[in-house]
């Protein structure tokens, strides 16, 4: 009895959603959910909070508790249904009666749910869905909000324009790019002096996406200038680079030349 009182105090005292993911881990989860969900307004239960708690719990346990996942899915479904019914203005007494029927027929049990072709009956009540006119204050607020959104968008665009895209190369500096092309071309020729074709990966200075992108762009430029030819035997396989027939491979470097470089 004392334990029950403590638990009640715990549930009564907590803030936010009256149902948490911890409730779903208890053996008496069905009863507790019934008690704390349907004794209050289902709209007081935040499905978002519940789902976030569930995700955190999943992270903790490494996503291996299928029982908890099943309970979570069922709980959210029932909560959403209860919320929808509340919106539709269904009579509370009928709702409670139906829930009792659900409990008796095992609807709350996920094991039974798998074999149950339960389809909630939709009854559209004859109730006015109130929509009211907009006030002039709201129109004024809407204008201020529209202006705020516009200004934020403009600021973002300005920031984007001011911040150069870092694609691994400076497109604005033509001479800089030409230097890079020449350097890569020399490298290809030097590598080719040791074989017929050179692997793209061997041309990289660093194993980063930016470096791969930068070097690939430079290779494409070299190819469009007719200096090299790139080949890829199948999608995503290694790219092989060879010199065009007009371009002779470089002489092998001497040790002193390598030191100079």
């Amino acid at each position: 009895m004392a334990e029950e009182t403590e638990e009640e105090a715990e549930f009564a005292g907590r803030e936010g959603s009256p149902v948490t993911v911890q409730d779903l881990t208890r053996p008496d989860w069905r009863e507790r959910l019934d008690e704390y969900t349907y004794s209050t307004d289902p709209w007081d239960v935040s499905v978002t909070e519940l789902a976030s708690g569930f995700m955190r719990e999943l992270d903790k346990i490494g996503g291996k508790n299928l029982k908890l996942s099943g309970r979570m899915v069922l709980t959210c479904a029932v909560l959403l249904r209860a919320k929808a019914e509340r919106l539709g203005g269904r009579d509370q007494t009928d709702e409670q009666e139906e829930l009792e029927e659900d409990l008796n027929t095992g609807f709350w049990g996920y094991e039974e749910f798998e074999n149950d072709s339960y389809i909630p009956e939709l009854e559209l009540p004859l109730k006015r869905m109130s929509e009211r006119a907009v006030t002039t204050d709201e129109l004024s607020q809407a204008f201020s909000s529209a202006v705020e959104v516009y200004e934020r968008r403009e600021e973002r665009l300005e920031e984007e324009e001011e911040t150069p895209h870092s694609w691994g190369m400076d497109l604005e500096s033509e001479s800089n790019f030409q230097v890079k092309l020449q350097r890569l071309y020399r490298k290809v020729k030097q590598k080719l002096s040791r074989g017929k074709e050179v692997l793209f990966s061997s041309l990289l200075d660093r194993d980063t996406k930016e470096e791969k992108f930068e070097k690939f762009m430079e290779l494409l430029h070299l190819q469009s200038e007719g200096k090299v030819r790139c080949k890829q035997e199948r999608p995503f396989s290694e790219i092989k680079v060879e010199l065009t027939e007009d371009e002779p491979p470089a002489e092998p470097k001497t040790e002193s030349a390598q030191k100079d470089e």
Binding site: A133, E138, S140
Partner: protein
């Protein structure tokens, strides 16, 4: 007054009650043709009934008014009561995006459609169509774009005499007018 008189519902009164029930229940304004079908009245008689309802509601003791727009009718809360009770019906009768687009047009009316789209983005084209459909704004051809301005219905809806009343508010960003 005899008993039979007190319980008898005259055909006219019955039509009025049907109109009231329909306008109360409908989530959207009800077209006149719908009311004609519902009541079985002729157009002239229906107009009389609607005038009668309008007159009844104009009494200061009543909280509703009969709103008409493009032959569509609905009950509205009287403007002076709206601020007091609006929290009871949090849903406005237009979406937030459409309302913002309407506000940009209203505060700058007449305004080029292109300028509205510059401020509100491409979604504004759809908003403008909806606002024209609901008779809040009208559009006229202006070169390669359109000139948008609010309608008399807009002024009636917000119970404004003119747009200056709207623009006088202190909270309105003046640099965008």
């Amino acid at each position: 007054m005899n008993n039979s008189e007190s319980t008898e519902i005259s055909p006219d009164r019955s039509a009025k009650s049907i109109i009231e029930a329909a306008l109360f229940l409908a989530s959207e304004p009800v077209h006149k043709s719908e009311l004609l079908d519902l009541t079985g009245l002729g157009e002239e008689k229906l107009d009389e009934e609607l005038d009668d309802i309008r007159r009844d509601l104009s009494h200061p003791d009543r909280g509703l008014r009969l709103s008409e727009n493009n032959d569509k009718y609905c009950f509205r809360i009287k403007r002076e009561l709206l601020d007091m009770v609006k929290y009871l019906a949090p849903h406005q009768d237009m979406s937030r995006g459409v309302l913002r687009t309407l506000s940009v047009i209203a505060y700058n009316s007449p305004v080029l459609q292109k300028e509205v789209v510059d401020i509100r983005g491409n979604g504004a084209y759809d908003h403008i169509d909806q606002l024209i459909e609901r008779n809040f704004i009208k559009s006229e051809k202006e070169g390669r774009t359109k000139l948008l301005s609010v309608t008399q219905y807009f002024l009636d809806y917000f119970e404004l005499n003119d747009l200056d009343e709207l623009r006088e508010g202190e909270s309105v960003p003046q640099e965008y007018l």
